[in-house]
């Protein structure tokens, strides 16, 4: 049932905006019907099996929606004679929930705060770098990133910053501050990302706290800030692109690349702007990884290699608007950042900026509880 809905959404409906929310909801419906699975942690041995980069079946692909150029998917299919079976998640948590409920994928896209979680649980296949022709094309920094020492389990994908996207036709006078998400004159037209890290993190930064604070008093203040903000909000959503396009949002808490992607889809691209808040912004790295229980790891390795190819990476950057850590793809993003310096994000930003910490135990539970209380209020 779970897979039916996803295939249906991914294959037949084809409207990308359906997907960001769709995957998560479909899982909810699936859970209601199928009960709980439990595929907890995998075994270390499974992560170390020997895999060669050659086609061993169709690629089961699990990513955010609108986060990879569909033309590249077609190209990959043609190049290797396989099909790409796509489905989408709408948050890191829902990606984790789907993995936990025992679904098998060949490639997934965890960010730098979730990759260590999956590595610790032995859920990611160890990548034999000799199988990747383009491995040396990856920026040297990412041959040994903090979230994945030795780059043993992931390759880097988009580098991102979280800020505010707005529609200048509808509202102006933005102040490069998180205060812009609290504007009375945009009441009912503001969205905050439906993502516990981004929402709480935003409040933490506006309060002047550490992005990933686990101090209960500070989190309580941030919780109150988010609750007080609710009358101003239209909603919580990660679908920043579509909410802005269909006019429901004037101001949207969102990611820098999404504004570029959005501009590619509208007649008045110059109306959509992005700003970084001076109180500080979260930055991060998304990655591509192969789950240890992948059924077609050979095809998955080919896909990783395919995405690290400078030409493909450049094409993807032009589509989705984020820099990729691939040598030879720098120009594609430089062009975007030249047109709109606001979306600029560099390796320095990512290494020196504030990143969401990998929280565990009571700390993680406290964040989850905070978000639940905001939503329920």
């Amino acid at each position: 049932m779970l897979r039916d809905i996803d295939d249906f959404l991914a294959g037949r409906i084809g409207r990308r905006e359906l997907l960001r929310g769709g995957a998560g909801l479909a899982l909810g419906a699936g859970l209601a019907g199928c009960g709980l699975g439990d595929s907890g942690s995998g075994s270390k041995k499974e992560t170390e099996k020997v895999v060669k980069a050659k086609p061993d079946g169709d690629l089961v692909y699990f990513n955010w929606s609108e986060y990879l150029d569909p033309a590249l998917i077609k190209k990959f299919e043609k190049q290797y004679g396989v099909k790409v079976r796509q489905s989408n998640f709408d948050s890191m948590s829902s990606m984790m929930a789907k993995l936990r409920s025992g679904n098998q994928y060949d490639v997934i896209f965890p960010d730098q705060s979730y990759a260590p979680r999956l590595i610790a649980a032995n859920q990611l296949l160890k990548i034999d770098h000799d199988q990747l022709k383009n491995y040396d094309n990856i920026w040297d920094f990412f041959h040994d990133p903090k979230y994945d020492p030795g780059a043993e389990h992931t390759v880097p994908y988009g580098l991102y910053a979280t800020g505010i996207i707005w529609n200048e036709d509808k509202i102006s006078g933005m102040t490069e501050s998180w205060n812009d998400l609290f504007r009375e004159d945009a009441k009912g037209k503001i969205f905050v990302l439906d993502d516990y890290q981004e929402a709480i993190g935003m409040a933490n930064l506006r309060n002047g706290f550490d992005l990933s604070t686990v101090d209960p008093d500070e989190l309580d203040k941030s919780k109150q800030m988010l609750i007080d903000q609710k009358p101003l909000l239209r909603g919580y959503s990660t679908d920043d692109i579509q909410n802005l396009i269909n006019g429901n949002a004037w101001i949207h808490h969102g990611w820098n690349g999404d504004v570029v992607n959005l501009r590619n889809q509208v007649k008045n691209p110059e109306s959509y702007r992005f700003e970084k808040a001076k109180e500080g912004i979260p930055v991060g790295t998304d990655t591509i990884a192969i789950p240890a229980n992948a059924q077609h790891p050979g095809t998955a390795l080919l896909f990783l290699d395919f995405m690290m190819d400078p030409e493909n990476a450049s094409q993807n950057v032009a589509y989705f608007g984020y820099p990729m850590a691939v040598k030879g793809a720098e120009d594609a993003f430089a062009k975007i950042a030249k047109e709109d310096p606001a979306v600029q994000i560099t390796l320095d930003d990512v290494t020196n900026g504030q990143q969401y910490a990998y929280l565990t135990g009571e700390d993680k539970a406290l964040w989850d509880r905070t978000w639940t209380e905001v939503k329920a209020a």
Binding site: G35, R100, G361, R369
Partner: protein
């Protein structure tokens, strides 16, 4: 005797089905509701009744009340819309009757989730409906449909209307037409005939429809998620968040168990009423 055994054998596939796909998952939910989570968010089975204590936090009471309120509004609207439709089809459908019933069921060929997304596209601030409103000059500015309580209830009514129409249709269709004629013969006005004859005769169908709409509406999360705003959070959303957002399946499972117990009360009330009605009918 052998006939009875044969009948019992017929129950086997259905019984197995229920056991595997209903009883076992339900058991897992109950087991998980007493569990805890490890660092990776995996469920660890155990004995942690505090999940239930947490669920009774007064913080969640407004969420439950809101869900019940939305569900009651949905039932009322479904009844208001559904009864006349069922009445018309049963009485005046003629040779189109089965066709019309098929049309009522037709939307179910498309998943509820997908149909709800269609509403998002239609009702967005610069969507098709608002585009028509402003282009035709009906209003200067569009209407904010989405992300409101009305949109959530509207989505629920749209999603569950057929559950109201079908049992009422069956009840009206089954009702002896001669009863209405008898009412008229006794000089009953159309309204009095409806009130004293048709309504009581079809009341069990109405009740069944109300229960069938109420139960899924209370637990629904899709409508509030897609059509709702920041303050239309329902119990279904709260449960969904525990599973998909908060890595807390045990708490989600405890909420589910409590919701099921709450809904069972309504089910029992309905079953007792139905049993009483069929006893009275037998007398």
């Amino acid at each position: 005797m052998s006939e009875q055994r044969f009948a019992t054998t017929l129950l086997l596939p259905g019984g197995l089905w229920l056991l595997l796909l209903f009883a076992v998952p339900l058991g897992l939910v109950l087991a998980a509701s007493l569990g805890s989570t490890d660092d990776l968010g995996n469920t660890v089975y155990g004995w942690h009744p505090e999940n239930y204590r947490q669920a009774f936090d007064p913080l969640f009471l407004p969420v439950l009340l809101r869900s019940v309120g939305f569900a009651f509004a949905t039932v009322a609207l479904c009844l208001l819309i559904g009864y006349p439709v069922a009445y018309y089809i049963a009485r005046y459908g003629g040779r189109w009757k089965h066709m019309l019933i098929a049309l009522v069921v037709l939307p179910f060929f498309v998943n509820y989730l997908v149909r709800t997304y269609a509403w998002v596209a239609l009702l967005a601030d610069e969507g098709l409906v608002n585009g028509a409103i402003t282009n035709l000059g009906i209003r200067d500015t569009g209407i904010t449909f989405l992300n409101t309580s009305f949109a959530v209830v509207g989505g629920l009514v749209y999603g569950y209307l057929a559950f109201m129409i079908l049992p009422i249709y069956a009840a009206i269709d089954r009702m002896d037409q001669a009863l209405v004629e008898a009412g008229k013969d006794l000089y009953g006005t159309p309204w009095n005939t409806f009130r004293h004859v048709t309504w009581p005769a079809t009341f069990q169908g109405v009740l069944a429809g109300c229960v069938l709409v109420f139960l899924p509406s209370v637990g629904d999360f899709i409508s509030a998620q897609l059509l709702g705003g920041p303050s239309t959070y329902m119990i279904g959303n709260l449960i969904q968040q525990q599973f998909l957002g908060a890595d807390n399946w045990p708490f989600g499972a405890a909420l589910t168990a409590i919701l099921m117990a709450f809904l069972s009360i309504w089910m029992v009330l309905y079953l007792r009423s139905a049993a009483r009605a069929s006893r009275e009918a037998a007398l």
